[in-house]
Amino acid sequence: MQLALFIIVAIFTIGGALGVVATRNVVHAALFLLLSLLGAAGAYLLLFAEFLALVQVLIYGGAITIVVLFAVMLTRSSEYPRITDNKQWPLALLTAAALSGVLGAAFWLAPEVVAEPQAPVFSDLAASLFTKWALPFEIASLVLLVALIGAIIIARAQNVDAPTDASSDGEA
């Protein structure tokens, strides 16, 4: 039963990921990403990490995907590029396969864990987050603030018709 659920979740996750790296359409890619992220949330549920699953759906599925879609809209070219991959893609495929292989082999050869997944109590999670991890938590909020301000500064339009000077100094 659980294995069946895992397989379904894995198919969603991997399939979504493959869709992200394979599709030509950027909007499709964002939607495939959403699929993959939801699959991951499913995996979290299987691991009894319900809070994480919720956060995953809320932040990734909601906020990040919407940001991505905004970005896609703002930067969309009139037509989709015929070639979506750059010239080094065979090498990239080899490298990615090699890294996956190394990671998989490492997991495979590691000593087998016989324990069962456990369902933690959420109040303990909250207690741990605000006691043991309080300082990193505050730092994380600061990081978010800095990133927010930085993003605003970088993305702010200096003049309205900025793209006109594009490719003036570009070279092939």
């Binding site: 790296v21 303990d124 741990s128 990081v143 070279e171």
Partner: protein, 106 residues
């Protein structure tokens, strides 16, 4: 009962796919999406380890999950910054294709 290994292999596969996306795609937007995939692969790995290894060795029950929360936080910040940069890039150069942006070439 699903062994830990399956989740780990799932994470490894997802990481590899994300890496391929980072290395092979032309669009900066797609590269950022691929990075998100890689971060998720890490998250799956972390949470799986946290669930299975609770109480084994020095692992605490929620350390993995809390680190995953931080990863998500940082990912959110990273996405925000990344798209700000992409936006600026698009405005300045009229494209988001990274293979057309090589002014730091030799």
């Amino acid at each position: 009962m699903v062994p830990l290994l399956y989740f780990q292999l799932l994470g490894a596969a997802l990481f590899g796919i994300g890496l391929y996306g980072v290395l092979a795609r032309r669009s900066a937007v797609l590269i950022v999406l691929s990075i998100e995939l890689m971060l998720n692969a890490v998250n799956i790995n972390l949470i799986a380890a946290a669930s299975y290894l609770n109480g084994i060795g020095r692992f605490d029950a929620f350390d993995g999950q809390i680190i995953a929360i931080f990863v998500i936080t940082v990912a959110a910040a990273e996405v925000g910054l990344a798209f700000a940069i992409i936006l600026r890039m698009y405005r300045n150069r009229g494209t988001v294709n990274v293979d057309e942006i090589n002014i730091l070439k030799w």
